[in-house]
């Protein structure tokens, strides 16, 4: 486990106004064990739920597609499966908590964001490569653009909870 940075409230930090609600501010007071729980609690709960839903959605979709009609649009279906894996990994990391999981989830959110942007652009530039849609087609339009909003929210949340202190972003 990485050494624990000193908890320090920086009064100059403008982001403090967006500090998420915490029950009594209690969990933050006690170093590591509290922070372990940090990324899956509070606003993290909502993220875990959404990532969980997208894991189930993308996984079941790709399983059905890969097993029943792989030949129709292999690229799209494989990409859906990759998306499902990324979602599953982020969900597990958020639930598990801790600095290592936080870093892993952060990396995966970056991958996810790049994936959405790349696949989204790809589907617009070269639609013929995708006879069938993926989760990330057209920047996730078929899923109310949640696929492109989710990684951004995730990155903000994970970055903010880095030192166990919301608002500490630099």
């Amino acid at each position: 486990m990485a050494p624990e940075p000193q908890r320090s409230q920086d009064p100059q930090e403008p982001q403090n106004s967006q500090e998420p609600q915490r029950p009594g501010g209690g969990p933050q007071e006690r170093g590591e064990p509290a922070r372990r729980a940090g990324i899956g609690k509070g606003p993290g709960t909502l993220l875990v739920t959404l990532y969980g839903i997208f894991t189930v959605g993308a996984a079941s979709r790709s399983i059905v597609q890969l097993t029943t009609r792989f030949d129709e649009a292999p690229l799209a279906y494989v990409l859906s499966a990759v998306a499902a894996l990324v979602y599953a990994f982020i969900t597990l990391s958020l639930v598990r908590g801790g600095e290592r999981a936080r870093r892993a989830a952060f990396g995966c959110c970056c991958v996810e964001l790049l994936g959405v942007l790349a696949v989204g652009t790809w589907t617009l530039v070269e639609p013929s490569a995708f006879p069938d849609a993926t989760v990330w087609s057209d920047y996730g339009m078929g899923y109310l653009f949640i696929p492109v909003v989710l990684p951004v929210t995730g990155l903000i949340w994970l970055r903010r909870s880095r030192t166990g202190e919301p608002g500490r972003t630099s």
Binding site: Q21, P23, T49, V64
Partner: protein
């Protein structure tokens, strides 16, 4: 599918989402009344699962395939109980917002379920 039930479930889910979203806005966790609301929506979801299976058993056929249809029915039935349990462990506004998100997902699932059964095409509704 039984369209009135689908519509009722979608409307109930949106109402539940608005209610729990309001609780989150007012910085409140989910309370007993919210759980009663969730129970009603969850029961409707279970009813839909039963109706869907009965329809399949009596010779009905889903336009996009039985497997997908059953998977969506299961997701519909499980959706609200799962977010309800999460909100029990997260006694803050974020628990309320989680239920709101789950209820919105349920509403979207209803729209998809309608399509999967063949709502748009021949033999629909």
């Amino acid at each position: 599918m039984f369209t009135p039930l689908t519509v009722a479930l979608a409307v109930a889910a949106i109402a539940l989402a608005a209610w729990c979203g309001w609780a989150a806005y007012r910085d409140q966790p989910t309370k007993d009344w919210h759980f009663i609301g969730m129970a009603v929506v969850a029961l409707l979801g279970l009813a839909q699962l039963v109706v869907g299976i009965v329809r399949l058993a009596t010779g009905g056929e889903a336009a996009e395939g039985t497997a997908i249809f059953v998977a969506y029915l299961a997701a519909v039935a499980a959706c609200i109980p799962v977010v309800g349990l999460i909100s029990l462990t997260e006694r803050t506004r974020w628990g309320s917002l989680t239920v709101a998100a789950g209820a919105l997902v349920l509403a979207v699932l209803q729209a998809r379920l309608h399509e999967i059964w063949g709502g748009g095409g021949p033999g629909g509704a």
